[in-house]
Every structure is written in C-alpha cells, then in structure tokens.
C-alpha cells in the first residue's frame, strides 16, 4: 500500500519523482550516473494523466519502464513512451498469406504450425525405488514407480508402490490414477483415486495432493486420502538429490504418514502414525540409470505403535538397501 501511494505520487508530481531517485544509492558505474535528474518541467511524466487503476502500465517508475533505465548506451535518447500500435496496424486481413495461397490451405498449415510449436504430448515413467532390504532377519522388496503422460499444464499421472518379504506374502500394494494440473511453475495439484490391493481387505480412496519442487530443490509429494469408509489419512514424502561428484549422488529421503482417526483394522492410530527416513548413495552411470545402496529407518508412532506392540510386531526397523533408480 505504501508503494502504491508512492507510485501515485510519482505519477503526478515531478519533485516526488526526483525525490524517489535521490533515495537510491546508485553505484558509481550505474547507468544513472552522470544523468542530470530532470527538472520538474522536463519530467517525462509531467502532463501525464493519472493512470487509471486498471492501467497495465501503472507502476512505471520501476526499472523496466524507468525512462532512465538502461540508457547507458544512449544517454541522450529521449524517452519513448509505450503505447498500443496505431489503428492502421490492426486493419487489413487477419492472415496475409490467405489471399495468396487460399484461406483453407493456410488454415490447415496454421493448425500444423500450432501443433508443432508448443503443443506436444510427452510421457515419462520413473522407477524411483526398486530395491531389496536386508535386516532383522528378513529380506524384503519394494517398488515405488510413477509416470505421466500429457502436456505442460495437464497430465494423467499414475503411481504405484508396494512391498513385501521375499518368500512371504505381499504386505502392501497400491495404485493411484490422478489428474495432475500445474498450479505454479514448480507444483502440480493432483486429484484422483487410490486403490489398495494389500493389506486386505482391499479398499479405495479419493486422493488430493500436491507434487513438485520445493525451495532448495526438494522433490515433495503430499497427499490426503479419504477412504470409502470415510477414514482420512495423509502422506508426505520429500527427497533430495545431492551430487557429491558429477555421477555420485546422495539422496536423503523422508516419508511421514498421518491419520485423522484410529483405523484398528489396519493397525493405524490417530495422529502421526509412521516415519521413514533413509539415505541412498547412487552412481549415475547415465542420467537415466542409477543403482544405489542405502540405509533406511522405519518407526511406527503413537497409537499405531501400540497397535503394533499389541500384535507382537516391531515398532521400528533399520534396513540396508540395494536398488536401482531409472526412468524412460
């Protein structure tokens, strides 16, 4: 608001304009250096009508539109005001070539050009974790795979993960089918369904979440789930690739699970239910292929831990990992 008032003042009053500049601490090599500040009567803004609130040019005092900015190359150049093209520029045929080659022919060629310029569909499959775990007398396996197909803003996104013990039953397995929509430069909003094949009984959830790149380049995936029984749970995952060398990459990873209520059927208690934290050290033979070794600690928390203890299960576990990450 303070800035807005300042801008309005600048838009009307030369002295205010000059004053604004006087507050700038210009470095010696600044393009402003050596410019005589315009006397009020020479002020390029003098005589300008007040910008209407909707004027897209409001706020012209900032660098790009500052009549002095960038004038290092042409110190004597008069200011040239921005403006729309003259009316004659908008006249005539919409497409010049139509009259030469025919409107139909050109319409088809234009359609091809639009398609060729920015309008492509791409897909990607990422096997983020495909690994075996060792520790506490048990050898386990895990997959965590996702993929997408679509264009820049909207994509179909699928995810699947699951785990179990070698020689034992599949412990958990789920698939998600999501619509993913870019809501900013770094994040997508995702919504869709999740189906748990294991643990039994199988169940379905509605999913809403966000996925993307957080500051400091953390890959983040956070989602809330509502099961067909009305149970609300959530999961937050974050991982980060730290290049130790060009090809040796250390990836810390953390996953947190939450629940809004007890779900005794699945041994889940209300609140923070589980934490998984790990680190994987991979060697990127080529950018698409990175085998790794790692270690991961898993702990059940609160009521979830109580459920586990009651069932005679461990509440925490540490595993060594060997796996591979690849995409195509």
């Amino acid at each position: 608001m303070k800035r807005l008032i300042a801008l309005l003042l600048i838009g009307t009053a030369g002295p205010a304009f000059a004053q604004d500049h006087s507050q700038h601490q210009m470095p010696a090599d600044d393009p402003h250096a050596g410019h005589a500040m315009p006397a009020p009567t020479d002020d390029p803004h003098a005589g300008h009508t007040m910008p209407a609130p909707t004027d897209p040019h409001a706020g012209h005092v900032m660098p790009q539109a500052d009549p002095h900015a960038g004038h290092g190359a042409t110190p004597s150049g008069p200011s040239i005001s921005k403006g729309p093209p003259p009316a004659a520029a908008a006249g005539g045929p919409t497409y010049a070539a139509d009259a030469v080659f025919g409107a139909d022919t050109m319409a088809a060629a234009r359609a091809a050009l639009y398609k060729e310029t920015g309008g492509m569909t791409v897909s990607k499959t990422i096997v983020d974790r495909l690994e075996a775990g060792f520790g506490q007398g048990e050898e386990t396996y895990l997959w965590d795979v996702q993929g997408w197909i679509g264009r820049d803003i909207d994509k179909f996104w699928w995810k699947t993960e699951g785990e179990g013990a070698f020689g034992g039953p599949l412990e958990s397995a789920e698939v998600q089918a999501l619509w993913s929509h870019a809501i900013g430069p770094f994040f997508d909003l995702q919504a869709g369904v999740r189906y748990d094949i294991r643990p039994e009984p199988d169940r379905a959830h509605a999913v809403i979440g966000i996925q993307g790149l957080a500051p400091y380049k953390f890959e983040v995936d956070a989602a809330a789930f509502i099961s067909t029984k009305g149970d609300v749970t959530a999961r937050i995952e974050a991982e980060y690739d730290q290049r130790l060398t060009q090809k040796l990459i250390l990836q810390p990873r953390i996953e947190v699970e939450l629940s809004a209520q007890d779900i005794p059927e699945y041994g889940i208690g209300a609140g923070l239910s589980a934490i998984e934290a790990g680190a994987r050290l991979g060697y990127e033979f080529v950018p698409q292929f990175r085998p790794y070794v790692g270690v991961e600690w898993h702990r059940k928390i609160g009521d979830t831990a109580d459920f586990a203890r009651a069932a005679g299960e461990d509440v925490d576990a540490v595993r060594g990992l060997v796996g591979v990450r690849f995409w195509f």
Binding site: P27, P31, P56, A103, T117, P185, W327
Partner: protein, 566 residues
C-alpha cells in the same frame, strides 16, 4: 499455385548417396569456387546418410550435401529457386536475413503452406541486398538434421571490404539422436544433457560457487550451470560438415587478406570463435557491413553471421569454435598447404551464471532502492506485462541493458572480445526518425518444466501477434527473464541495435539477449505481411518462444481497406 506435379524423373539426384561435401566445404578447399548461381537454381530436399567421427546417421539434406550447397547471388538480380521435396513429410526453405515479399519467406503456416511431399515450390524475389546469409528448413526440426546452407550475395557496386580470398565457415551441431528424441528428453529432464553440474567435490575443492551462493541458488530452485540445454554429450560440433577428427582445412597464400564468412547454423549451440595467434577484423555482421574492428574472440549466437578478415602468415592456424557451455568444440585448420595443423586450444571451464544473469542488475543494494528482488513478484510481472503462468519461473527483477557486455563466460578473458557496442554500421542508418512508441517483449521460461514463451504465453491460436503499422518506427526492448541467452530473430526486416552509435547503429536480423538482461532495437516496419519472430534456439522456438509480427496495410490493400479476409 507454384506447385508442380512431380514426375518420376525429378526424383533422381541427391538421394541414396552418402552426403558429400560441396566444393567450398571440402577439406583442402582454396576457397569459394563453384556455387549455385544464375537466374534459376534447383534445390532438392531429401534423405541422405551422413558420416562423422566414423559413425553414420540419417540426415535431411539439400542436393545430397551437408551443409547444403552455397547459393551465390548478385544484388539486383531476381532470384528464382525451385525447391523440390523428396521427403515423405512437408519441408520448406527460409532465406535467413533476406528482405523479400512475405509469401517468399518460407515459414509454413505464416508465409505459405509449406512444400508438400513430392512436390515443388518456386521462390522468386528481387535480391535487394548483399552480404553473408544462410538458408534452412522451417519445418519439423529438419534444420537440426542438416537442412541448412550458406548464401553469399555480391554487392551491385564495388565491395567496400577488400580481400584476396574467401572461405565460408558454417558452424553447426550434429546429433545422432533424432531431434524429436532430444526434445522428449528435455521435456522429461531439462538437465538431461548437462554433464557438468555443480557438486560437492567441486565445492570442497573451492571451485565454482561458494556454499552461500549454492544455498541461495538452491533456494530459488535454479542452477548456475544452466548454460546450454543440449550439449557435447550428444552433439558433435561441425565446421562445414566436418567433425573435429576430420579437421576441415581451408587454404590460403601467406600474407593474403582472407575473408571468413562465419555462419552459426546450429540448432542449439552458441559458439566462442577464436583463431589463436591471428587477430580477426570484423567487417560485417548479419550481412551488413560494419566499421572494421579488430578482436581476438567473438561469441556468435545461433543464426548470426560475422565476416572477419584475417591476414595469416606462412603457418597453420586452428579456428576454434567452443560451445558456450564448454562441453565441446568444433575446430578446423587454416593453412597454406594441406597436411599442416596447429595446436588445438583446450576446452575452458564451464562458466557459472551470476546474479546479473538472473536479472539482479549489476550489483548494489537493490532492497535499499525499493526494488522487489523476489524471483516471481506479481508486481514485477504486471509491470512487465507478463502473464504469470506456470510457464514462467522468474521475472528479472532488475534487468540491465547488456548490449555492451561480453558473451557469457568471456567476462574475464584477458584478450579482446567483441561486444555489440563495438559494432558500428558502415553506412548511415537509412531511417533516422525517432521511434514513435516503444514495445517491451519479455523472453520467459520455466526451466524445470522446459517451457519457453514470449510474455509468459506460448504461441497458440489465441496468441495476439505483435502488430505494426507499415513504416512505423518502434523501439523494441527485449527483456530476458530467463537464465539463458536467446538469439531472437525477426523475419523480413533488419533492425538497428541501440548501442550508442546513433545514426550508425548496427543493423541485424538476429540479436542475442544475454540472461537477465535486455537489448533494445529500433525497427522500421517496412515490409507488409506476416513474419515469424522467434528464438533461434530450435527447441525454444519449437516449444513456444515464437510469435507472428504483422505489418499492415498490405501492399495489395486498396485505400478503402480490404477488410478481414479470414
């Protein structure tokens, strides 16, 4: 119209044979000899195998050669070029830098409808300029597969540039990956081709950014190694179609003034060009003569041309064209005799982007100046007229005019490096009117999603073109809101780069805008019609950093106005 049904006989020629080199591009050439010239020139576009570094790939060629034949025209003649398409997909030829009627400009969907498979199109236009230019396909990334060649236009009057011999030096980048596969990789992982990323070992060794800088850049989700999208990881850099191992050699007699017509016909590569031991005198840029200026190194952006004069002694010299990200090099030899060579300079270290490249000006305490230095400030965006879409990851908070700056990574070289402010047009600028208005165009991107656009808007059916009235004089300022340099090309016109040499601003068809900076040019919109306007980094163009410039009224319009023909 202009299409000919194709007879079987027309299909012969240039197909099936391995790409040979036209005479001027052969190693050991004494210079420009035979070229395609005369009142009628026939060009056949087809598929040809292309071999470099002992490996053979698939190229799209003109008359079976890579680069395409040299076309030599004379100012004042009428050019008639009959292009026959032997491909199973559309093709086209755009005459890069030539001033001609819009329907001869060769951009499918804008100037014409393209050249359908197995048909021909006849381009015919008066040649009203002279200098070094080039031509290339404007269809379906064919340019990245070899569909490019040089044009030399001799002036009608005596050439103000004196020289004894001339060579054409076409720089380009070749990949055995299909350009569509390259693009898909970039969409899947924008850093895919980058094999020189910041890492911990580098930090521990005290190289590159400090820890504080790394954290700052990490917080912004930006990489200081974002120099080139496609690198030497897949590219072999070529001089006249020759890889480094083939060592293209151009001959001269010691003491001669040799004119090198350097053309950057790359899809995605900006080059640093130098000839160790041999100063270069720049005499022409983008086909327009400039006051001779001597330099030791120049950065040539994609689609630019520079003519330089060198006066070599009785020795061999290496012409080195290092990619701007230092991931590879094209090199060739200039020598008095075949079989000679000179040392090839080593690749220098990859440059690291600075805060200036991120549009944070030249230093100073910006916060104290009341400027918002936020990466993506809605206020900055509104002021800039940029649509703050997911395709925009940054609005340069304080872009500075970088027309006097050295090219990326050459800031600290101890030898002379050409900058745009060194260029002074030899002839006075033809239009000395002051621009009647200014237009600001932002170059925008999202590096993470690999999206490219103007003003935050990818080219689409609803994109409003940049409209000009015929003969209107406008100052256009290009503001680079990305961390990469962009060679911006306007078809059918020259514009004067505002570089302080009032009245003698250099006239160009392509201008390189440094990251986080800006460049202004004055345009006289004297060519009625519709014209492509785009970044000449092919993938950027292809993904939406593209728009149409319209100039009205058309010549064909009557004074009462033709109305809307669409």
């Amino acid at each position: 119209m202009n299409r000919l049904a194709l007879s079987r006989r027309a299909l012969i020629g240039g197909i099936g044979a391995t790409a040979l080199f036209p005479a001027w591009a052969r190693s050991g050439t004494p210079g420009i000899g035979a070229a395609l010239s005369g009142p009628e020139i026939r060009l056949n576009v087809g598929h040809t195998p292309f071999t470099v570094g002992g490996r053979t790939g698939h190229a799209v060629t003109v008359n079976g050669t890579l680069p395409a034949p040299l076309i030599r025209l004379k100012e004042g003649q009428t050019a008639r070029l009959i292009v026959t398409n032997h491909l199973d997909e559309d093709t086209s030829i755009h005459w890069h830098g030539l001033l001609l009627p819009f329907q001869m400009d060769g951009v499918p969907g804008i100037s014409f409808s393209g050249i359908a498979p197995h048909s021909s199109f006849t381009y015919e236009f008066p040649v009203i300029q002279s200098g070094t230019y080039w031509y290339h396909s404007h269809s379906n990334l064919q340019e990245a597969m070899g569909h490019y060649g040089p044009i030399v236009i001799d002036p009608a009057d005596a050439d103000p540039v004196a020289y004894d011999r001339e060579h054409v030096v076409v720089l380009s980048d070749w990949s055995f990956m299909h350009p569509h596969a390259v693009m898909k990789k970039l969409k899947q992982d924008a850093e895919f081709f980058r094999r020189d990323n910041p890492n911990f070992a580098e930090l521990a060794a005290g190289k590159g950014q400090t820890l504080k800088e790394r954290l700052e850049w990490g917080a912004m989700r930006m990489s200081p190694a974002d120099i080139s999208d496609v690198t030497g990881a897949t590219y072999t850099y070529l001089v006249n179609g020759h890889g480094p191992a083939e060592n293209w050699t151009g001959l001269f007699n010691p003491g001669e003034r040799v004119r090198l017509r350097i053309i950057n016909a790359s899809a995605m590569t900006i080059f640093n060009v130098r000839i160790p031991g041999l100063p270069m005198t720049v005499v022409n840029a983008d086909g327009e003569n400039v006051r001779p200026v001597e330099t030791d190194e120049l950065q040539i952006s994609v689609a630019e041309t520079y003519d330089v004069i060198v006066t070599p002694g009785d020795a061999a010299y290496t012409l080195a064209a290092e990619s701007v990200d230092r991931s590879g090099m094209a090199h060739a030899t200039l020598a008095p005799r075949m079989g000679m060579s000179a040392p090839v300079p080593k690749l220098r270290e990859r440059p690291t982007l600075s805060m200036k490249d991120m549009g944070h000006g030249g230093g100073g305490d910006h916060a104290a100046m009341g400027h918002s230095m936020k990466m993506r400030d809605p206020e900055n965006a509104a002021r800039a007229g940029v649509k703050l879409s997911p395709g925009v990851d940054m609005i340069a908070p304080m872009p500075v005019d970088r027309v006097g700056d050295r090219g990326l990574g050459l800031e600290d070289e101890t030898h002379r490096v050409l900058v745009y402010t060194d260029l002074v047009a030899l002839a006075p600028n033809p239009d000395t009117r002051s621009p009647s208005r200014s237009l600001e165009i932002h170059l925008t991107s999202n590096m993470e999603r690999y999206m490219w656009s103007f003003n935050g808007e990818q080219f689409s059916p609803v994109t409003e073109p940049f409209r000009f009235e015929k003969n209107e004089r406008v100052r256009v300022t290009l503001v680079n809101d990305t961390m990469m340099a962009h060679p911006i090309h306007l078809h059918g016109h020259f514009f004067e780069v505002v570089n302080g040499h009032e009245g003698h601003h250099p006239r160009k068809h392509t201008v390189n805008v440094l990251p986080g900076g800006k460049v202004s040019f004055d345009l006289t919109a004297d060519a009625p019609g519709d014209w492509a306007f785009h970044c000449h980094l092919l993938m950027h163009m292809h993904l939406g950093m593209f728009n149409v410039v319209t100039v009205r009224p058309l010549d064909s319009e009557r004074t009462h106005g033709a109305g809307d023909a669409a």
